[in-house]
Subunit: 243 residues, 2 copies
DNA sequence: AATTGTTTCAAACAGTTGTTTGACAACTCA
DNA sequence: TGAGTTGTCAAACAACTGTTTGAAACAATT
């Protein structure tokens, strides 16, 4: 019944080839745009192989998603061990950027994730539970530490989303960025520059929010918000949505 | 030959119905996922109507894109007249958020734009030229003013992208946000809260970058960067991409 | 009333899609 | 060796895609 080495080798070989080819194709044209014929052609397999090995196209996609997530996570883990929250944030941002943009992985993970977020499939729930939520929790703790102990949970969430938004922008809007600023390639040094900028911007942003949100409690030095910050906030509250 | 009122009325009526239905469908399932049969069914028109009025599906899509962009731009224009750069930034962020998230427009514009960015079609070039680049230029000037006159163009770009990234995050990642933080609906008051937060976060971020980038020039008061900011930047430079 | 140009419509067309089928080869284990 | 399982393959299937066609309905002009 079961299957010693050689048959298993054949099984695993085409299965692996399918997964690899599928990752490329899904990253390039998304789940909907991908055709099993194209995937199988690239994998050097027959059309029926997808049905045989993964049940159907959705099964193959789900497997690709999980594998890419695992791969990215293991290759660029969030560094631990730092106790300085600012350094933790820098590490988080760096590993996140590498996961989604690293040309070493052909940025496949980032592209697939971006498509999955904009046009969710049934696989998104699993992805959120297994990959995204743990990251979100990690970031929540870092930001919470930076904001100071008694920060409003909603404020912590908003700051976390400000950080992640900056990162994912380069992943979601690449086609627009390339058109707006051609020649600004994202190689390793560009990625370093990005990491530095987003970290500095976010740290200053979080500290600004902390200072504005918890105005000068005794025993805690907080700088008072600038005039312009207050005025712009009032501007935001002034205008109402037109019907 | 041409065409008094009534015939034109019929023409414009089905054409408008097609545009309206198409905007909904494209926003829901994207260009690829949309079928002309579905669009025509919702518009109460025949399948051949798309070919007759717009040439083909791509022509209809292009028209929808342009019309949505025009509509959003005219309904939520970037407020002008403020001379305070901080207030300008607040106005920019507010109008941007409204354009892409306003439930009044069923967030169609934002959803369509998000799809177009992640999975570009031939229509993206026109969109960038007519709608996105002017906005980018506007933001560049605001950020440049905030950073101070002699700011590095690359730094200005990075800061601008940090601002836009925060905004678009809520547009691109809505499915994930809804799963991570259910119940955090984005109505008018939520939109106000978002505007206030992103504005404050960005102002603090830009000022932090300005202070770190142009260290204490004579005649210009700039606070020195925090210890953690420098340390995190060094962290970013220390780690190298593993092969 | 006949003509003209415009718009709509049911039907069909040609192509692609995901998936299944049944035969065929390769291998394991008795 | 021979039965039985496993993996591969060409071919076919049914459903759906964007687009076209030619006739009909319609309104305005001649």
């Amino acid at each position: 019944m079961r299957t010693a080495a050689s048959k298993n080798a054949s099984h695993a070989a085409t299965r692996g080839a399918l997964l690899h080819a599928a990752a490329d194709v899904f990253a390039e044209v998304g789940f909907r745009g991908a055709t099993v014929r194209d995937i199988c052609r690239r994998a050097g397999a027959n059309v029926a192989a997808v049905s045989y090995h993964f049940g159907d196209k959705a099964g193959l996609y789900s497997e690709v998603l999980a594998e890419q997530s695992r791969l990215a996570q293991s290759r660029y883990p969030v560094p631990t061990g730092d106790d300085d929250p600012a350094a933790q944030l820098g590490g988080f941002i760096r590993s996140f950027l590498q996961r989604v943009l690293s040309p070493e992985l052909h940025a496949r993970h980032g592209r697939i994730m971006a498509r999955e977020m904009v046009e969710p499939t049934a696989a998104l729930d699993r992805l959120v539970a297994e990959a995204i939520r743990p990251q979100s929790e990690m970031l929540r703790e870092i930001v919470s530490a930076l904001l100071g102990g008694a920060a409003d949970p909603a404020t912590v969430r908003l700051c976390g989303m400000s950080v992640v938004g900056q990162i994912l922008f380069y992943c979601h809007c690449r086609p627009v960025i390339d058109r707006l600023f051609p020649g600004a390639e994202l190689d390793a040094t560009g990625l370093d520059r990005l990491t530095t900028h987003i970290t500095a911007f976010s740290l200053a942003g979080i500290r600004g929010i902390a200072a504005a949100g918890a105005p000068s409690r005794p025993g805690q030095r907080a700088r008072t918000p600038h005039r312009a910050e207050r005025s712009s906030a009032s501007v935001a509250a002034k205008r109402t949505v037109r019907t």
